[in-house]
Point group: C2
Chain length 199, copies 2
């Protein structure tokens, strides 16, 4: 059987490592790269390189940034009294896109996951505690994912900041707008009943 | 609303251009590139660059190759009397993986598609005719896709080589191994009945 050339095999391997890309998709992407004009293919390569060379973490909130301190931390118009704690930069972006929060953020860069060997010391929890300790925050909003690990991380942090004079809250849980009650699972309905609101 | 840094937005845009990758997947891939270690991210960038810089088309059969003439064309152990015509290099690879053909290939690099403005002159049909004219081939196997355009392309080529002393065949059509008759569509069953074989 004839072999594909080594560059092609190598690129298929590289694409296969990406999340959600299987072998067949990786082959398809590789043939796409071979088919498009050279400038477009090289632009993709350069963008990957640029993102790793230009983007770093904000030294205050650990959001992705091309400057030492990110634009959110530097924005004087944002509320300096509320701090929203998220797991990943992409969670921060999702919240920003919802356009209802104008405070500060802190990105943990993960969640406590003992089974994967990720403890509090692997995250930016120490820096978070320093910020809460030295800062002007009146409220810390836990916006970790609503999973066992996310909830565990939120609990750990709320214990760690319990001694400071801040209110700790978490995102509301309940039924999701646009969903169908019949197909909503029992944990969600239980949350929605417990936290029911006055009409 | 805070903006993502321009390198990040740019990479999301680049990933979005790939086939089968939507905006959300592109964001996910970008965050993956930002999360993995730098060496791995740069390796992906370099692989894309390498594939475009090292890989070209074999000047004889138009398969992808890192050398002027590909390894299949150079292999003296392969049958020099049968020529299999495919649309794309990936079709060639699929046939090679089936491991039942040991002859030569010719890659058209597309199919005749008048609606997309792709005529015979945009493909490698001229070079194919030259190969058949000057070559030692006794049989040309049309392995274009079993679609209207693939069949049209095969018909065009079979007419073009009709004057030469070669047998022109096409891949067998029928029911697919492992399929279920009940769910097989009528065109496939019609093909299977017409080309039925002695038991």
């Amino acid at each position: 059987m004839a072999q594909l050339s080594s560059s092609v095999v190598n690129l298929i391997d590289q694409f296969s490592k990406l999340p959600g890309i299987g072998r067949k998709s990786a082959e398809r992407l590789t043939y796409h790269v071979l088919r498009v004009n050279k400038a477009e293919a090289l632009e993709l390569a350069d963008s990957i390189r640029a993102v790793r060379e230009n983007v770093c973490y904000c030294k205050s909130c650990f959001n992705l940034s091309e400057t030492e301190v990110c634009s959110i931390c530097l924005d004087p118009k944002r509320d300096q009294t509320t701090l929203c704690v998220v797991e990943q930069p992409r969670d921060l972006m999702a919240l920003e896109q919802a356009n209802s929060f104008r405070g500060q953020y802190h990105v943990l860069l993960g969640r406590i996951a003992p089974l994967e060997g990720i403890g509090p010391e692997n995250l930016t929890i120490k820096q978070l505690i320093e910020r809460v300790h030295g800062g002007t925050f009146k409220e810390v909003i836990m916006a970790t994912n609503p999973t066992v690990e996310g909830d565990g991380t939120a609990l750990h942090i709320s214990n760690a900041v319990a001694d400071f004079d801040v209110k700790v809250t978490r995102l509301a849980r309940g039924i999701t707008t646009g969903s169908i009650l019949e197909f909503t699972n029992k944990e969600i309905l239980a949350d929605a009943l417990v936290d029911r609101q006055e009409f």
